[in-house]
Amino acid sequence: MIGLSSYLVLAALMFSIGLFGVLTRRNAVGILLGIELMLNAVNINLVAFARFHGDLLGLVFTLFTLSITVAEVAVGLAIVIVIFRVRRTVEADRLDLLRW
């Protein structure tokens, strides 16, 4: 039987993989992809809890997360494009204008 914890562990793994991507990717778009993974992992958690606790709240929040993710991606990519226009690169570790 597949229990709640199976889903949660799966989500945790996905989350960690996403984190790994965020930490290691050089390309800003790649970082965004990692963030997407992490957000999806969260969604899995929400839906799993909602399903196993018979609670609607998780589903509603999943919807919210989804919508916000779309907004985030739109703005994030717009920023990436602007950065690309200005700096001719989207390598995240070269974008250190704000360093000491």
């Binding site: 984190l19 965020v22 930490l23 290691t24 990717r25 970082i31 995240a92 570790d93 974008l95 250190d96 204008l97 704000l98 360093r99 000491w100």
Partner: protein, 608 residues
């Protein structure tokens, strides 16, 4: 309100009303002379009221609760009218009235604004002094005591543009405050021991022997300290000569007749309490006598006419205190009254001289008898009175004091006071001979003072004479027990002083320099005011500078050091830590991840 206290309240209220009017209504104050007239009018009516009170020999007490508490107010305000207060009221209002009239001419050259300010202060001062006189308890007395001190500060520093005046004002303020600290501590201790501030209650308890509280001697000594400061007793007398930096009428009012006598008045007022502690009384007597002698010696070598009078005042205050200490407070109080009159006379006359000559130095005067005979006459009258020549007022009161001290079997103080009497005659006639009969100095054309100034002078001179004659006729009740040899001795001492002065300064029979050479150490000490001012300055500087150095060191090395260390640390830390801010978003994600991990660790290790 009972009619009993209506008149005293009127006496008290009028100067205050004048003060309020002048203080609040700026345009009126800035007119100068009209402002003075307002003040004079107020004090004149006040004087008339005081005279009525005195003539009626009113005795009344009326208090209103001030600081409320369970079981009756802790402190009250009100008026306490008795013969003591009546006499004081008359003296204060009289001298104040004359001084204010006199000032109108003396300070006529001042800017109107300054003159208005002067009269504002004057009104406030008179109000404060009257409030002190009428105080029915220690708290009110202390409040007005401090107000008087404040006014003294303001008036001494009237010419605040002059550094010397400003310094003198501050000095007077601070030194009297030294005594006031003892005063208030004593008051509070007394209250905690007896539970009341009221004189009447205290006297009743004293009479019923209900005041045998432990440490009463200490308490009374502390209260006496207030008088030491205010009445310029040794060793806190040093402020009074410096206070001569103020306008001369101010000196006449507050440093001759009123404020400095507040200490004596207080001791006299609370005499039933002091009577319980003979050891303090003895101390008062000794200190008073010593003060008298010390000030007299300093007066002998002083060249500044106002300072001579100032030392003389200190000396006479010593007399009064000695009398109070000897248990002859009526004699002391009598001397207070007569001295108030003739010392005001002397000061005002000296003011007229200074006004005319433009200098304080008696050795630059001389021959003034011809230039301003009226002033010379009244000054001589005052001098005679001060020296104790019958039938002038000073003779009787001084004799009463001497008699009282003798009666109390205080031989040491008596001898000192007798010597002081001699010296008093000497230094006063020294001034008279040098300033009025000596060879005239060139420079300026001294002229008689205007009638506005002369009028008060004559009035005071006549009063001095009249009081003396009144005392001679009525026979002062103070000297009834005095031994018969006392009047001749007194007159004799005065005569010796007169002859010495005449011989040294008029005839030139004895060269003052040779006398000074003979009495070299004494002369040296007296000229340097016995080093007291230097000592104070030294101690003050030592303490202040030492403290300043210490605080400066603490500030520079401890406080600043900590701050410097902190800033240096912050800078270094910033230098080191800024590399954390790599500007790369992913490095920050590492930070977030580590934070989350820390939360995990915390939650799993400690939360359970």
């Amino acid at each position: 309100m009972t009619p009993d206290v209506a008149l005293p309240l009127l006496v008290l209220a009028l100067p205050f009303a004048a003060f309020l009017l002048l203080a609040v209504v700026g345009p009126l104050r800035r007119t100068g002379r009209p402002a003075g007239l307002v003040s004079i009018a107020a004090i004149a009516i006040s004087f008339a009221a005081a005279l009525t009170v005195w003539a009626r020999e009113l005795v009344a007490e009326r208090t209103w609760g001030w600081i409320p508490a369970d079981g009756g107010p802790i402190a009250t305000v009100g008026v306490l009218v008795d013969p003591l207060a009546n006499a004081m009221l008359v003296l204060v209002t009289l001298v104040a009235l004359l001084v204010q009239v006199y000032s109108l001419a003396y300070l006529g050259d001042e800017r109107p604004g300054a003159l208005g300010r002067y009269y504002t202060y004057q009104s406030l001062f008179v109000f404060s002094m009257l409030g002190l006189v009428l105080a029915p308890g220690f708290v009110q007395m202390f409040v007005f005591w401090e107000l008087v001190g404040l006014c003294s500060y303001l008036l001494i520093g009237f010419w605040y543009e002059r550094p010397a005046a400003a310094r003198a004002a501050v000095k007077a303020f601070w030194i009297t405050k030294l005594g006031d600290v003892g005063f208030i501590v004593g008051i509070v201790l007394l209250w905690s021991a007896t539970g009341t501030f009221e004189f009447t209650d205290l006297f009743e308890k004293a009479q019923a022997n209900a005041l045998a509280v432990p440490g009463l001697a200490t308490i009374m000594f502390l209260i006496y300290l207030g008088a030491v400061g205010k009445s310029a007793q040794f060793p806190l007398h040093v402020w009074l000569p410096d206070a001569m930096e103020g306008p001369t009428p101010v000196s006449a009012l507050i440093h001759a007749a009123t404020m400095v006598t507040a200490g004596v008045y207080m001791v006299t007022r609370t005499e039933p309490l002091f009577a319980l502690v003979p050891e303090v009384l003895t101390l008062i007597a000794w200190v008073g006598a010593f003060t008298a002698l010390l000030a007299a010696t300093m007066a002998c070598v002083e060249g500044d006419i106002k300072r001579v009078l100032a030392y003389s005042t200190v000396s006479q205050l010593g007399y009064m205190m000695a009398a109070a200490g000897a248990g002859a407070s009526p004699a002391g109080f009598l001397h207070l009254l007569t001295h108030g009159l003739f010392k005001a006379l002397l000061f005002l006359a000296a003011g007229a001289v200074i006004h005319a000559v433009g200098t304080n130095d008696i050795f630059r005067m001389g021959g003034l008898f011809r230039a301003m005979p009226q002033t010379a006459v009244v000054f001589v009258v005052g001098t005679l009175a001060l020296a104790g020549v019958p039938p002038l007022a000073g003779f009787f009161s001084k004799e009463a004091v001497l008699g009282g001290v003798w009666e109390a079997h205080l031989t040491g103080p008596f001898l000192m006071l007798a010597l002081t009497a001699l010296l008093t005659a000497f230094y006063m006639f020294r001034v008279v001979f040098v300033a009025f009969f000596g060879r005239a100095h060139a420079g300026g054309h001294p002229h008689e003072a205007p009638w506005l100034m002369r009028g008060p002078l004559w009035l005071l001179a006549i009063l001095t004479l009249a009081v003396g004659i009144r005392l001679a006729l009525g026979g002062g009740e103070a000297h009834e027990e005095a031994p018969g040899w006392l009047p001749p001795l007194s007159v004799g001492l005065a005569t010796v002083g007169f002859v010495l002065a005449w011989a040294m300064y008029q005839r030139g029979a004895v060269d003052p320099a040779r006398v000074a050479a003979v009495l070299r150490p004494l002369d040296y000490l007296a000229r340097r005011r016995y080093g007291l001012d230097g000592l104070y300055a030294g101690v003050y500087r030592g303490i202040i500078l030492g403290l300043s150095r210490l605080i400066g060191w603490i500030d520079r090395y401890l406080v600043d050091g900590i701050l410097n260390a902190l800033t240096a640390l912050t800078l270094r830390a910033g230098d080191a830590l800024r590399y954390i801010q790599s500007g790369r978003a992913q490095d920050y994600v590492y930070g977030v991840a580590f934070g989350v991990l820390l939360l995990f660790v915390w939650a799993q290790l400690w939360r359970r």
